[in-house]
């Protein structure tokens, strides 16, 4: 692998950049791999990378039906934070955040992890209680998250209006300073390059059409549009398409796939320093390094694989953005897009074994998957390599829906009374 650095960049610039090779190969699939990962998004590629680097398992294929990073990895608002309430979620996302902090160097790929801080605004007394509950829980879990008065919020995010004239005035906020954003595409490409360099085969335009099981019921490989590929273990990491894939092995999942929309404005000079989230009015806003305001919208109410939602979801989101930041009404929406998010009943992921031997699944990240990418890949690699879950993903079983041991962050945030 040609190492990326200022030196190599400068030396290449002398010769028209003709010396850069492929960042990852385009190999033909082998007949069999120790591990086959279905889904070439950030989570799948990270899984392959950590299988190779942490567990020394390099006879690995990542199968992607389209192009890598083309699903939710490339369709989100790139927010990264770890200030979750429950121990289980906090451990997972903090594990990821720690990996994010060194990821550019680890991958030798600038994924532009920007710790500009994520500020969650409290607009009513219930928000205040809920956010303080998070702040205290995070403190005891060793996760940075601090309560800011509204004046401190304004100091941290000057575009904010704290005059009290808003429909839902800002009462304060919870700030995680280590949180921020990253360049989503680069995450997929960086992991792909790192995994490929260690021998992992990344096979694009290869759609899985079936999961083959032996007489004992164990999974032994996948049928694909490029033929059968044998596998010691199979890890399905396919976000919105998980239900479809798992049904190929006869496994029904507690999942529903919804369209999730996001949009960006035209690029402008820096005008917004951090990430602001407002659950009360449903607004998520940051400014990309390119200058676009990046705005997350909500999910549509129905399941769909169309990657297209309704206009009313967009307008509803912009209502909230322009209520919080009335100076932005003359900005323009440049692009909008939709992803397919797979949502579990408790809105927490499922990572681990399935009823089918040798078949493992990592899904159900809902709207929160991007931020977990390195952590998710890391613990799933452990699960695939050892056949048992890592301590961090052990609580995120499929079985919890039977026992009732749910990890319901959304319910914990509750509703206004």
């Amino acid at each position: 692998m040609r190492r990326f650095s200022l030196t190599s960049l400068l030396s290449e610039s002398m010769r028209g950049h003709t010396g850069w090779g492929r960042q990852w190969r385009a190999p033909e699939p082998k007949p069999r791999y120790d591990v086959v990962i279905v889904g070439g998004g950030g989570h799948g590629l990270a899984t392959a990378y950590y299988l190779a680097t942490v567990h020394g398992i390099t006879n690995v294929a990542v199968l992607e039906k389209g192009w890598i990073g083309g699903g939710n990895t490339g369709r989100n608002t790139t927010i990264i934070r770890s200030n979750y309430l429950y121990d289980e979620s906090a451990a997972m996302y903090e594990h990821a955040l720690k990996l994010w902090e060194g990821l550019s160097q680890e991958l030798n790929y600038n994924i532009m992890f920007s710790q500009r801080g994520v500020l969650m605004l409290a607009h009513n007394i219930h928000d205040v209680q809920s956010f303080k509950r998070h702040v205290y829980a995070n403190r005891l879990n060793g996760i940075d998250n601090e309560w800011l008065s509204k004046e401190e919020c304004k100091a941290f995010c000057p575009p904010l209006d704290i005059s009290g004239s808003l429909r839902y005035p800002v009462l304060g906020g919870a700030l995680q300073r280590r949180a921020g954003t990253a360049r989503h595409d680069a995450v997929a490409w960086g992991y792909a390059r790192g995994a490929d360099n260690r021998g992992v085969d990344i096979i694009q335009n290869c759609e899985v059409t079936g999961i083959r099981r032996d007489a004992s019921g164990a999974a032994v490989g996948v049928e694909t549009t490029r033929g059968f590929i044998g596998a010691g273990r199979i890890g399905v990491v396919a976000a919105g398409h998980t239900s479809t894939l798992m049904s190929m092995a006869g496994v029904s999942m507690p999942l529903e796939s919804y369209p999730l929309q996001a949009l960006v404005s035209e690029p402008v000079k820096p005008c917004f320093p951090c990430v602001v989230m407002s659950n009360a009015v449903h607004a998520y806003l940051s400014q990309s390094d390119k200058g676009e305001l990046v705005i997350g919208a909500g999910t549509d109410q129905y399941t769909s694989y169309s990657q297209q939602g309704g206009l009313h979801i967009t307008t509803h989101t912009l209502d909230a953005i322009c209520e919080l930041f009335p100076q932005f009404t003359r900005m323009r929406m440049l692009r909008s897009w939709g992803g397919i998010v797979d949502v579990t009943p408790d809105r927490s992921p499922i990572i681990g074994k399935t009823p089918v031997p040798n078949l493992f699944v990592n899904c159900g990240w809902g709207t929160g998957g991007f931020k977990a990418t390195p952590g998710s890949g890391h613990v799933f690699a452990h699960t695939l390599a050892t056949g048992t879950p890592h301590a961090i993903n052990a609580p995120f079983t499929l079985d919890r829906f039977r026992t009732g041991r749910l990890i319901d962050e959304a319910a914990a945030a509750a509703v206004a009374h």
Binding site: F4, L9, M14, R15, H17, W67, G70, G74, D87, S104, Q105, Y109, N110, M112, I125, H126, V128, Q129, F131, R133, A137, R139, L140, N141, R167, R183, E266, V268, K269, P270, C271, Q287, D289, K290, G291, S306, Q308, G310, L311, T315, L318, D319, C322, P326, Q327, F328, T329, R330, M333, L334, G338, R400, T403, D408, A411, A412, A414, V415, A416, H417
Partner: protein, 995 residues
């Protein structure tokens, strides 16, 4: 005033109405009907901006929405400044102040242009390869530098004084685009009598007919046909003609979103009219007639100011009467540029044309142009341009059939019109999720399989000949309206046909050539090739890695060239590389238009009760609860929250308090099976509840967790008056209707929301009875006749009431339900009657404290969607004999019956003055290492004036086993010790309530 490049005649501008606007502080003169671009060109101004990355001088490329380079900040007055406006679509008017962007200190002398020298380093994706060391530098040095360099104009900083409107509309046929095909389609559809909407993004409908000065349609000049057609459409009741209206989004089920620009072009204040209007059209059928976009040619330094698209050059000549130069060179690989050259020649300009095609591949246009006395160099490529802030010459060379270039020749010029062929505007078709097909004959993707009820017509599907466009449009319009009518139009033959070219052949070292593909994002052909070499081979990957097609023009001029270069590099057929999926919007849309009226007071409804104005007049502060605004507390002069609440709390327990509980949800449940229905929905039993009696009801979701609670009165055998929480009203009614309609349709029960029919005045405190006694008619208020948890109907202050004897404070209490329009009067009468008893109005904060003193839970505060009845000590309400109710089965799940669940307890701090933070976490041992084991959290915490100390409720793991034990609770700077106690702090025996 002098407009040196304005032709002496021609064009559709109104020469009797001169206008003047500012560009970078200098006056620019033009005429009504000009765009900012045409007026600038009329004044010889080509340099209008600096490019995104390299800060290269840039001019005006296009006349329309595909313009990538000429982006200006436009100032229309205070609060009305916005960036990134395309000069080619902003209608010029007096008073505008326009400024160029992305340069320092000035447009002419831009320090950022040093980036151009560094361009060998700043190639596609260079930033992924560097800026990684030292690690800390990213946030502090590199990223701030990149951010400052990026972006185009400056974001607005003031609130926008303009108004925006929304309009839902329906029609049988929506026609998008009022060029020849769209007009013919609208005509055909309109003649059937169906409802037609015709929308066009231009200031004037007509499309190419507005600058077609030579064609004839059915024997008369095209302009005349246009006038007649518009007159016919305008005269029809069933047609809505919308100029300045861009259809930008094609959503599900023929929902098409369009923005109409209503006032930006008006000089005089437009009264109260909105700036823009969002049209949300639900169309029976859609005809897409959005035309086609011209492709630039990709050659070295093809981005110099003065180099325009050939057809745009023709538009400036014919529509605006502006000559973008005096000595013109057209460079082309197709026929349409010949038409522009002919028109330029006819306008008296010096014209040369360079055609990549061999002589033998050219059509009749060649002879035509030569016949007009124009020099035409066929079989010639363009290898570069001369000039810096303005093109001064085009470097051309003959190219052999082997692709080799012959001797170079410089054609001096002050303006270039280039044409690399045409790309149908399939954006909306693609948004509708129709499938595209690559048409080899015209080197373009065209609509193939529809996914919705739409059809494309004319150039939008690759039909470029005028007569064919008209005929096609008419057929599409008629078919969309369900008519078999067809009409064959006759028109002057259009010069069509081109030879696809990705990168112009060149003799230069390809690693040195900078030929721009995406002008705005400064993406060169070299960048695209680099991306492909590095393994980015899907067009989506190439886009994301190089940023080609990601700028504000969304690749309208660049996509096909980029795609072609990728295909060439991979040696694949173009369709094998695929095309990108188009997503809304077609052109950028202001947030304001999308928000419409939903701003300020109309952002979200503010729900208020009939008592609201009274509370306001009595100094209440309010809190938001769901959509409601509720009185929070009633401070007297000099009181803060703490002091006011302490006073209110004491007043209730000592005398009497009055509280507005109107926001509580209310549902009237009526029918033969009402009790059975209640049995199934609540954990409690209802069959034996006597009419006139009340019961506290608790409702679960099917997953076993608490959904809502409230007091329920049985009005009669077949009628219950149910109350819900304020925020839960709609949710509970929805939950009930769902079960009633879908699970138990056999039950004869009807549900009606009466939340707003009844206002609720809560009167709480030992003197409550004394206050209302003189006001009530027909109800015996004595404790024997009217015990706690009873409901009576009668009159109060002369209006009917359902009077509840209930208490959320632990005191003697009444909740007076009266019809809402009478509530203010009754409230005032009660307040007046209460004066003698020390009546005190109180708000939600005091309500919270008083109920916490008694350990009454609030759903949503003590519970959070993961709490069961047993967790809050209410499992005893479930009758043993009850076989089923919603949520019962889930209460038997292994982890729900397991020990160690969090249970509701009270907490008392060692320091009685210390009020815990709500949300504070609880641990057993403060010396354990992080991560600590948390046992639960504080759900409610207050200063209790009545107890003379702080009190708190908490959910604690195994809490009921920990009575009188010590735990530790987080504080802002550490921990504090607490003692676990029963969750009741005042009147533990509960005697006061029965007073």
């Amino acid at each position: 005033m002098a407009q040196p490049f304005r032709l002496s005649r021609g064009g559709r501008v109104d020469r009797t109405r001169p206008i003047v606007f500012a560009f970078n502080g200098k006056p620019v003169h033009g005429y009504a009907g000009d765009t900012v671009a045409s007026a600038l060109l009329a004044n010889g101004i080509h340099l209008v901006g600096r490019s995104f990355k390299y800060h290269r001088p840039r001019g005006i490329l296009s006349h329309g929405p595909d313009e990538p380079s000429a982006l200006l900040s436009v100032d229309r007055g205070p609060g009305r400044i916005d960036p990134n406006n395309r000069a080619s679509v902003v209608e010029a008017r007096s008073g505008l102040r326009t400024t160029s962007q992305n340069h320092w200190p000035s447009l002419e002398f831009d320090v950022g242009a040093v980036n151009d020298l560094l361009s060998p380093v700043f190639v596609a994706g260079f930033y992924y390869k560097t800026f990684m060391w030292p690690r800390k530098f990213w946030d502090r040095v590199y990223e701030p530098f990149i951010r400052a360099a990026a972006g185009l104009g400056k974001a607005p900083t003031q609130a926008d004084p303009d108004r925006y409107a929304n309009r839902h509309a329906h029609c049988d046929v929506l026609v998008v685009g009022a060029g020849p095909a769209g007009l013919a389609a609208a005509l055909a559809a309109a003649r059937t009598g169906k409802r037609v909407i015709l929308a066009d993004e231009g200031a004037e409908p007509g499309g190419s007919l507005l600058h077609d000065t030579t064609s004839q349609i059915d024997g008369r000049p095209a302009a005349d046909w246009l006038t007649e057609t518009l007159a016919e459409l305008d005269g029809r009741e069933n047609v809505i003609l919308l100029p300045r209206t861009t259809a930008f989004g094609y959503y599900n089920h023929n929902h098409v979103a369009m923005t109409e620009r209503v006032t930006d072009h008006l000089t005089s204040a437009a009264g109260q009219a909105p700036r823009e209007r969002l049209w949300q059209v639900r169309a029976g059928e859609v005809v897409l007639a959005g035309g086609a976009h011209e492709r630039p040619l990709v050659f070295a330094d093809n981005d110099r100011p003065g180099i325009l698209l050939a057809e745009s050059l023709r538009v400036f000549l014919n529509r605006y009467g502006v000559a973008p130069g005096r000595k013109l060179v057209f460079a082309t690989s197709g026929a349409s540029a010949y038409r522009a050259a002919l028109d330029a020649r006819a306008a008296g300009l010096d014209v040369t044309l360079v055609d990549l095609r061999l002589e033998s591949d050219c059509g009749p246009e060649l002879a035509q142009l030569r016949g007009a006395g124009v020099e035409v160099l066929t079989g010639h490529t363009v290898v570069g341009s001369k000039g810096r802030k303005r093109v001064t010459g085009l470097i051309v060379a003959p190219v052999g059939s082997d692709g080799r270039c012959g001797g170079r020749r410089i054609l001096p010029c002050d303006c270039v019109g280039m044409s690399g062929g045409w790309t149908p505007a399939v954006h909306l078709f693609s948004q509708s999720r129709g499938k595209l097909r690559y048409d080899d004959a015209i080197d373009a993707f065209v609509p193939s399989i529809s996914a919705q009820a739409e059809r494309s017509a004319g150039a939008a599907r690759g039909i470029y000949d005028l007569a064919a466009c008209l005929t096609d449009g008419f057929a599409a319009g008629a078919a969309a309206a369900g008519s078999d009518e067809r009409q064959a139009f006759k028109a002057t033959e259009t010069l069509t046909g081109f030879q696809p070219v990705r990168i112009m052949p060149t003799d230069a070292n390809p690693t040195k050539v900078r030929a721009f593909v995406d002008y705005q994002n400064d993406v060169t052909a070299k960048d695209i090739k680099l991306a492909v070499r590095e393994g980015f081979q899907s067009i989506e990957h190439v886009k994301r890695y190089t940023t080609t097609g990601m700028a504000t023009d969304q690749g309208k001029t660049s996509n096909m060239n980029a795609l072609g270069i990728v295909a060439g590099q991979l040696d694949k057929a173009l369709p094998a590389v695929g095309t990108t999926t188009f997503r809304p919007p077609y052109t950028p849309v202001t947030f304001g238009a999308l928000v419409g009226p939903a701003r300020h007071a109309l952002f979200d409804p503010i729900r208020t009760t009939p008592i609201h104005e009274w509370a306001e007049a009595h100094g209440a502060l309010f809190e938001n609860v769901a959509l409601w605004r509720r009185a929070w507390y009633f401070p007297k002069a000099g009181e803060d929250l703490h002091a006011a609440v302490a006073r209110e709390c004491k007043a209730v327990r000592e005398n009497v308090g009055i509280f507005d509980a109107s926001t509580l949800g209310k549902i009237e449940i009526v029918g033969r099976d009402a009790a059975e229905f209640m049995n199934r929905l609540y954990i409690n039993p209802w069959t034996k509840l006597a009419p006139g009696r009340c019961r506290y009801g608790l409702m679960l979701k099917e997953d076993g967790y608490i959904l809502d609670d409230g007091v329920v009165a049985r009005v009669s055998d077949e009628c219950f008056h149910v109350t819900t929480t304020t925020g839960g009203a709609a949710r509970v009614l929805g939950h009930m209707e769902d079960y009633l309609q879908t699970e138990w349709p056999e039950l004869e029960v009807f549900l009606t929301s009466t939340t707003e029919q009844w206002a609720v005045i809560a009167l709480q405190g030992p003197k409550a009875r004394d206050v209302i006694a003189p006001l009530v008619d027909g109800i015996d208020l004595s404790p024997e006749a009217f015990p706690h948890m009873a409901m009576r109907t009668g009159m109060i202050c002369g209006v009917p009431t359902r009077l509840f004897r209930v208490s959320f404070t632990g005191e003697l209490g009444f909740e007076i339900n009266v019809p809402s329009d009478h509530a203010r009067a009754v409230w005032e009468a009660v307040f007046e009657a209460g004066q003698a008893h020390g009546i005190t109005p109180y708000g939600t904060e005091t309500m919270h404290v008083l109920r916490a003193e008694k350990g009454y839970i609030i759903v949503g505060q003590e519970t959070d969607g993961t709490v069961t009845p047993d967790d809050v000590g209410m499992a005893g309400m479930i009758p043993k004999a009850k076989k089923d109710f919603v949520g019962k089965r889930s209460l038997a799940r292994p982890d729900v019956v397991a020990s160690g669940r969090k249970q509701l307890v009270g907490l008392m701090t060692d320091d009685p003055k210390l009020v815990l933070d709500e949300g504070a976490q609880i641990v057993a041992d403060t010396n354990q290492p992080i991560p600590m084991r948390m046992l639960g959290h504080v759900t409610s915490s207050y200063w209790s004036a009545n107890c003379g100390r702080s009190i708190a409720l908490a959910l604690v793991e195994g809490g009921r086993e920990r009575m009188n034990g010590h735990l530790h609770v987080t504080t802002p700077d550490g921990f504090t010790r607490v003692t676990v106690c029963e969750p009741v702090f005042f009147d533990v025996q509960g005697e006061r309530i029965n007073a």
